[in-house]
Amino acid sequence: MNDGPVSTFQFLGLTFSTANIASASIVFVLVVALVFFTSRHLAMKPTKGQNFLEWLIDFTNGILKGSIPTKEIGGFGLYGFTLFIFLFLSNELGLMFNIAMPNGATIVRSPTSDPITTLTFSLMTLMLAQFAGINKLGYKTHFENYLKPFKVWIVISIFEEFTNFLTLGLRIFGVIFSGEMLLGIIWKLAASHGIATMIVAVPLEMAWQGFSAFLGAIQAFVFVTLSSVYISQKLEVEE
């Protein structure tokens, strides 16, 4: 959570947040490490790491199959899988590490506790949905879907795209941001009056961490589920 000053830097005329870059890089490395170490020595009879990885792939494929027809999944499987582990690790990262610089600016936290991250992923999903729709149906059919069931519907359709974008991104942001914020507040409480509040607050903190870990998993799941729903909506011709 970034309550205090925000550390930013300029590069090529763009503003970057140090916390986001650092956290995302850590998650990036974690994801690569996860898939690297679990995919060694692949065999017909799977062992520990491979079992886990295959279970994860089956899990995300299962999420996608819930809304996209099996024969059309194709590359979306990879997208859903990567998205799920990236978001899950992002959500959990802030629960374990919340590192601040001496001036109070956080540099390691959940990347998903910043709306810019979640909205980026949300936008990416909706762009992918548009692309998939055009790729499968062609420009004409794809954009005609906005005029169905009647032409006036186009207003609602376009508005819906916008709300999809916002709700998809802000839902996960809200949950993770509030989780981290509450963790910070509980920690402040613990530190406020010495040992007495510590005894009360530490179990509370642990309980909330556990709950947040659960919420982080749920939110990653929900994000992938909704992504597949939005993609599948663009893959079919509306009646």
Binding site: V6, L42, M44, I57, T120, F121
Partner: protein, 171 residues
């Protein structure tokens, strides 16, 4: 707290671009490292399992066929054995009858031959005896004649003798 959300106060679009690039890179790395080989392995496994099921099915059918064939062969061999035994029995019967018939025929032939021989011998003996009697009678006659040769007596004697021979022969 939400100061960074205010547009202009530091909405860092740079992060967006960074995330997009990072994520695309991540997609590529995950694809190369894990996705392709693991999904390929999973597909291979699925194929292998379905192949195994198919081959198990086919070998089961094969086994069933073999059992069927074996049973047919067993039944065939049983009936064949039956046929062989029957043939042997029939052959034995025929041979036995043939042998008996042959033996009977042989015995018959032998008996007939023997009878023929006996008859022949009897005829020969009879002819011999007749010749002998004729010779003897001629001898006797010549001896008697040498003693007292009277034509009338002689004639009566020969006639009676011949008559006697004829009667004897007829009987």
């Amino acid at each position: 707290m939400l100061s960074h959300l205010v547009v202009g106060a530091g909405l860092y679009f740079g992060d967006s671009i960074f995330y997009v690039i990072t994520f695309l890179l991540l997609l590529w790395i995950v694809k190369v490292l894990a996705w392709k080989p693991v999904t390929k392995m999973m597909q291979d496994r699925a194929d292998k399992i379905s192949n195994d099921i198919d081959s198990a099915e086919s070998s089961r059918n094969e086994a069933a066929d073999l059992v069927q064939k074996r049973q047919t062969a067993l039944a065939n061999s049983r009936s064949e054995a039956q046929t062989i035994v029957n043939d042997a029995k029939t052959n034995g019967q025929q041979q036995r009858e043939q042998i008996v018939t042959q033996a009977q025929t042989d015995a018959q032939t032998l008996k007939q031959n023997a009878q023929k021989d006996i008859e022949q011998e009897r005829q020969d003996a009879l002819v011999n005896a007749r010749n002998d009697v004729a010779d003897l009678s001629i001898e006797i006659a010549s001896k008697i004649i040498q003693r007292e040769l009277k034509a009338d007596d002689q004639k009566a004697l020969i006639d009676s003798y011949i008559e006697g021979l004829g009667k004897q022969h007829e009987s």
